[in-house]
């Protein structure tokens, strides 16, 4: 499997249908786009046409929600085949999904469900990631999820689990800053411990997003602007990991593109300030990969 770490792409956004027209008509200050894989596993029509046009102009990464890498049910080979076919069309810089499961026995609960941090689960996930990587012929990127429950049987911390998966399965990590913030609050750990516990050379992408605060717990809803506390953690993440491709993730209450571009500009300014040098994504480098 190719060994080179994917390039720093700069500052990107999740591609949402509401913004197709604006993106193609103008030249928003967005270095790259993340597309939701499942939305384009279709036969034809406008979404695929827009996707093709975006791919001609921007580096693109694919992000899925249905791989269910930690499920104890067999891998869905039909899904993997469709994921691979889409990757051939898109030529993404990387493909990501979540370190979670979404259902067993053929049911899809359409949620990113938590994994107990046990040695059994670790062995299982490592084996599954290897199978998926062999099938796709490329490394997978896995994202830490927000979680609301702690399992009594867990034998290690989340960051120990995530790090072991990355090292043993030889995959990349998508460090979701908001998810670390949410889980740290919900489970009472220090977000900095997570940050410092993850291997630096494995992190290829940051997600930054908003959430809903329910007083006793926080729910990862992606329907608000990014809050100050998450920006603070982002600042710490940039200082720790260096330049990492950064993306604002918004899935609900989707604002006009300009508003997200402003939020992205804020991320860019934080990174610039922290690293005390200008950061420019290099699409050419991405295309050459």
């Amino acid at each position: 499997m190719a060994a080179a770490k994917p390039p720093f792409l700069g500052f990107g956004l999740g591609l949402r249908p509401q913004h197709y027209g604006e993106i193609l008509a103008g030249s928003p200050a967005v270095d790259w786009f993340e597309v939701l894989s499942e939305n384009y596993m279709i036969e034809g029509g406008q979404p695929l046409r827009m996707l093709d046009q975006i791919c001609e102009r921007y580096p693109v990464v694919m992000h899925g929600v249905s791989l269910s890498i930690a499920s104890t049910s067999p891998l869905d080979l039909d899904y993997l085949a469709r994921l691979k076919a889409l990757a051939e069309r898109v030529n993404p810089v990387w493909i990501s999904d979540h370190l979670c499961w979404t259902g067993v026995h053929g049911v899809n609960l359409h949620d990113l469900l938590p994994v107990p941090y046990t040695r059994e689960a670790l062995d299982h996930v490592v084996d599954r990631v290897s199978q998926v990587q062999d099938f796709l012929g490329r490394r997978l990127t896995l994202e830490n999820v927000s979680s609301y429950v702690t399992f009594g049987q867990s034998e290690m911390t989340e960051w120990e689990f995530v790090s072991e998966v990355a090292k043993r399965a030889d995959c990349w990590l998508l460090f979701d800053v908001n998810n670390v913030y949410v889980s740290a609050f919900n489970h009472g750990f220090a977000a900095d411990d997570f940050l410092n516990g993850v291997p630096r050379d494995r992190v290829v992408q940051f997600h930054v997003a908003g959430h809903s605060h329910e007083e006793s717990h926080i729910v990862d809803t992606h329907d608000h602007p990014v809050c100050d506390e998450v920006w603070d953690l982002y600042r710490a993440a940039v200082a720790h990991f260096g330049p990492v491709s950064t993306m604002i993730e918004r899935d609900d209450n989707i604002p006009p593109l300009a508003e997200l571009v402003d939020e992205l500009e804020h991320a860019r300014s934080i990174a610039r300030e922290v690293l005390a040098r200008p950061l420019v994504g290099n699409p050419r480098l991405a295309a050459a990969e």
Binding site: E38, M41, G45, R49, T72, H105, H110, E120
Partner: protein, 260 residues
């Protein structure tokens, strides 16, 4: 220790069936009890699927109102746990559910509004195909026309409605108050397809519907003209058949033609 497989099965039962066995595997947090924390997953499951249904069936939602649609979503989610990777597939059984459910089936327009919305959604991201161009038909010599066979665009879907559901859908879509639901004296034929990037539908008269169905079954144009003559009278039958064909080409409902 409970195995990962057993833990996941128990977690899933906790979400789908309200089974509390999983709670013994979960710890209270410093700030909240485990029932509330696990409740986040229970709530998210129903809320997310209800939202998916509302996105897929926008006019049905408008027609039923929030409370009526919430009732539909709740019973549908219980009857059809999602078993597909794609979120868009989740609501695919809604028309059939509305047709067969004891309560909803008393209002036959509901299943038909849902059927129309689903057909439009299927046409929207159905397979691509270059629409048949009039120029291609013009190349065919007059004496060969009786052998002509056309192919519908791969997004084309034929529906037959017993109620005025298409009128209800159109008014809701345009932001107008819908007419009262009623049964039609005769069934209404409808053709749904995608023109360029827009999913559309069109009402077909009985003669045109008959000819479309036959044409879609690869009947030659010569035979179609005879059928039109039998259906609506011999006078002007060839002209009527040619007009229907030209309309179909103009609207992009056909993808190809050949001589058979």
């Amino acid at each position: 220790m409970t195995s990962l497989k057993e833990l996941q099965e128990s977690f899933q039962r906790g979400i789908l069936a309200g089974d509390d066995t999983i709670l013994s595997e979960i710890k209270d947090s410093a700030k909240e009890e485990r029932t509330v924390l696990f409740g986040v997953y229970r709530h998210a499951y129903v809320a997310r699927l209800a939202e998916l249904l509302a996105d897929d069936y926008e006019q049905l939602h408008a027609y039923l109102g929030d409370a009526g649609f919430a009732k539909l979503a709740k019973s549908y989610i219980a009857a059809h746990p999602s078993n597909r990777k794609s979120a868009r597939d989740f609501g695919r059984h809604v028309p059939e559910f509305l047709k067969t459910d004891a309560g909803f089936s008393k209002h036959p327009e509901l299943a038909e509004i849902a059927r129309l919305e689903k057909a439009l959604a299927d046409a929207f991201d159905g397979p691509d195909a270059e629409p048949l161009a009039l120029a291609k038909l013009a190349e065919i010599a007059a004496e060969l026309w009786p052998k002509l066979v056309v192919t519908p665009h791969p997004t084309a879907i034929r529906l037959t409605f017993t109620t005025n559901a298409s009128d209800i859908w159109s008014d809701l879509h345009d932001g107008n108050a819908p007419p009262p639901a009623r049964l039609l004296p005769e069934p209404q034929a409808i053709l749904v397809w995608r023109q360029d990037v827009t999913a559309r539908f069109r009402l077909l008269g009985p003669e045109e519907a008959m000819m479309w169905d036959e044409a879609a079954a690869s009947t030659r144009f010569g035979v179609l003209c005879e059928m039109v003559a039998t259906y609506g009278g011999e006078e002007g039958a060839d002209f009527r058949a040619a007009s229907y064909l030209k309309d179909w080409v103009d609207m992009g409902t056909l993808a190809g033609c050949r001589l058979l």
